[in-house]
């Protein structure tokens, strides 16, 4: 028996809300990758990447960061550094950000973006001083004086970047604010507040989420039900995209485009850099407690240095000899910076007070005197009393 449905009859079978519903908004999130994990181009490369010298320059920074990171962990393990946050696996994301930024732009880090900061003039010994318990690490003697120091309270840096971008826009400057957060940080209210404000005010700010899949021990799936973190840009009314954060070319390209948009007055961007935290969260963490070794091994094959090196070797722009020479130079640079760090000693005790206010209130001046007096009698074995 053949059953035929009258179209008119079908209309009444459709639920009422479906019949009345139209689409109010639609969105899609792009993903960009130029080099696959084996270093093979997935398509035509952006213009900057057609110059091997540019790529070699960025690769050198990535190696430099890796050598530094390895040394910093060794220093911590041997009792010569406090808790340290490694950037292992994030080198492409960080170097890509730093390479795209101009000196007059302002950077608002979280706490592991050394690859951005070294390019902006932050010294390796300053990073070590910070993790070695010394505020002088925040002085940034040769980096832009307006760059913010490390920001440990998660997501608060987004507000500072939004405020800086507000100032740049107010002053009609072609400057941009750039800030970084992790995947866990996207769960903070501050994250949304800033995206939303940057959208409403069309601010020159680039928000980068380094999605390394782990917020200490909490995996991404426990942070969000979203398919991507980039789509959170939609909620703020700004442009969002996802890139392969282990692909330095994709990362640099996305940053270039985001900064260009901002400088043209076209507003903010959220970039989700897909990467992986190959290290523990910090040296105080032991990721073996919560993470499969197999997962880490799988990501080691996709890490950012391998693919760009392979690609440069294919081009004939890099070889084993250059690699060895550069590794040796990086190690020598790191050693020299470690020597500066180790010779820094303890900061003067009065430095606790001297920068509390532009004009030190009387009460603090008395506390400063008392602290100095105590320090002058102290034999605390740290060698810095005076």
């Amino acid at each position: 028996m053949k059953i035929e449905f009258d179209p008119f009859f079908l209309f009444f079978l459709t639920p009422l809300e479906a019949r009345l519903r139209t689409i109010a908004a639609k969105f899609e999130i792009g993903h960009t990758q130029y080099l696959d994990p084996d270093g093979k181009p997935t398509g035509p490369l952006p213009r900057f990447a057609q110059d091997p010298a540019t790529l070699v320059g960025m690769y050198r920074w990535m190696v430099q960061v890796r050598v530094f990171d390895t040394k910093a962990i060794a220093l911590q393990r041997t009792g010569q550094l406090g808790t340290y946050a490694s950037c292992l696996g994030h080198e492409a994301a960080h170097v890509g950000i730093g390479a795209a930024m101009a000196r007059e732009d302002a950077f608002f880090p979280m706490y592991r973006e050394y690859g951005v900061q070294f390019q902006r003039g932050v010294h390796m010994h300053e990073v070590l001083l910070f993790w070695g318990g010394d505020e002088r690490g925040n002085c940034f003697k040769d980096a832009p004086a307006h760059d913010f120091p490390w920001c440990v309270p998660i997501a608060t840096q987004f507000h500072h970047a939004t405020g800086a971008a507000t100032a740049f826009k107010y002053r009609k400057q072609k400057r941009c604010a750039v800030t970084v957060i992790g995947d866990g940080g996207t769960s903070q209210g501050d994250f949304y507040e800033s995206l939303n404000c940057a959208g409403a005010w069309k601010l020159p700010v680039v928000f980068v989420v380094c999605n390394n899949k782990w917020a200490i021990s909490v995996p991404l799936a426990a942070q969000t039900a979203c398919e991507t973190l980039a789509q959170k840009a939609i909620g703020g009314g700004i442009y969002g995209e996802q890139v392969d954060g282990n692909d330095i070319i994709a990362m640099r390209d996305a940053m270039d485009r985001a900064l260009k948009r901002s400088r043209k007055g076209e507003g903010a961007t959220l970039i989700e850099a897909m990467t992986y935290r190959l290290s523990d969260h910090t040296t105080a963490d032991d990721a073996r407690r919560y993470r499969d070794a197999a997962e880490v091994e799988d990501h080691k094959a996709k890490e950012p240095l391998i693919r760009i090196r392979k690609y440069l070797e294919t081009l004939g722009a890099w070889d084993a000899k250059q690699e060895q020479a550069w590794l040796a130079e990086c190690a020598a640079r790191v050693d020299a910076e470690v020597a500066i760090y180790k010779s820094a000693g303890k900061p003067p005790v009065e430095s606790m007070f001297d920068h509390m206010f532009a004009n030190l209130p009387e009460k603090l001046a008395r506390q400063r005197d008392a602290c100095l007096e105590l320090a002058s009698h102290a034999d605390d074995g740290h060698g810095g009393a005076h």
Binding site: A106, A145, H146, H159, A177, E193, S351, K363
Partner: protein, 325 residues
């Protein structure tokens, strides 16, 4: 010279500083066309434009954090928090960043911002609109806390707060916004941020207070004067850091001290004043210090707010107790 209410003196100070310094930018919820819910920014957007008088999205942590970013890049933001109970989301930004950026960067980055907020009760406002939270900010290193108690002091202290190179939390007693008018010259003269104000000289007892409690304190002093009791009333005004010298000299003179605050008694600014006197003027005291304060309860809804806030009667009783003690 114009006679203005406290809230109008705030507007006058903002307008004066905006006219003389293009780095001053006002931001907050409803500060633009609406002129602020208490009308403290009325007319400013019309005069200075939407780029300098900015309506923010409804997010207090954002307001504080954005002000920090603006200040660090060379502007002088004056941010308004709409009601006193809404200031708490700002605490993270104020304590973790505004108060410590200069210190932790060893002077490289400073935060010349002002966070303005209404303070205290007594105007039959809804829940969470009548809080006294100055002690919270006074406890934070690197933050100045200022509470004006007259139109002239509001004008001069706000100018000083805006010009100060460090963050200032500026708490405005809502009960005083329109209580009285006073002649205030719009002469751009700032008041010092490290000196309190002796509102009434006296010899028998020192009364230290600040904010809206200046009203009950002055009324109590007036009432006792009729009985021949001479009370010296000090408006602390710059709640943090405290002008210790003026307070101590007064206590050394009178030998007695009553501290009046609207905020809950425990851990308040009054506790700090009491500790200061105990440490540095104990032997001048002829009687125990008396604190007259709000109870250690939440600020009640408005039917009971006058049972919560110290009344003139309570202040008078406090002074009598100090005199008898």
């Amino acid at each position: 010279m114009a006679k203005v209410a406290l809230v109008e003196a705030i507007t006058m100070a903002l307008a004066h500083e905006m006219a003389h310094d293009d780095s001053v930018v006002v931001l907050g919820e409803d500060v633009g066309k609406n002129g602020g819910v208490f009308r403290a920014t009325v007319g400013l957007q019309e005069r200075f434009g939407t780029e300098r008088v900015v309506d923010t999205p409804l997010a207090e942590a954002l307001i504080a954090g954005v002000a920090i970013g603006m200040a660090a890049m060379g502007l002088k933001p004056v941010a308004e928090i709409q009601f006193s109970g809404f200031i708490y989301p700002c605490v993270d930004e104020i304590i973790n960043h505004a108060g410590r950026l200069r210190n932790r960067t060893r002077g490289r980055i400073s935060v010349p911002m002002v966070l303005r907020a209404p303070s205290g009760g007594g105007i039959h406002a809804p829940e969470h609109h009548s809080e006294s939270n100055e002690a919270l900010f006074a406890h934070m290193p690197g933050i100045r806390v200022v509470m004006p108690s007259s139109p002239a002091r509001a004008y001069g202290l706000l100018l000083a707060a805006i010009r100060d190179p460090d963050p200032v939390v500026f708490l405005e007693p809502t009960r005083l916004y329109r209580l009285t008018k006073q002649e205030v010259a719009d002469d751009g003269q700032a008041l010092p941020l490290d000196t309190c104000f002796v509102l009434r000289e006296g010899t028998d007892c020192t009364l230290v207070t600040w904010g809206a409690m200046v009203v009950e304190s002055m009324a109590a002093a007036e009432r006792l004067a009729k009985d021949g009791v001479s009370v010296e009333v000090i408006d602390l005004a710059t709640v943090s850091p405290i002008d210790e010298q003026t307070v101590l000299e007064s206590v050394e003179k009178t030998g007695r001290c009553v501290i009046v605050q609207e905020a809950p008694i425990t851990g308040g600014v009054g506790s700090e004043v009491a500790a200061l006197i105990a440490e540095k003027a104990l032997y001048s005291l002829e009687a125990p210090i008396v604190r007259v304060a709000g109870w250690d309860t939440p600020m009640p809804l408005f039917k009971l707010e006058h049972d919560y806030m110290p009344s003139t009667d309570r202040v008078v009783a406090g002074i009598r107790s100090a005199l008898e003690g």
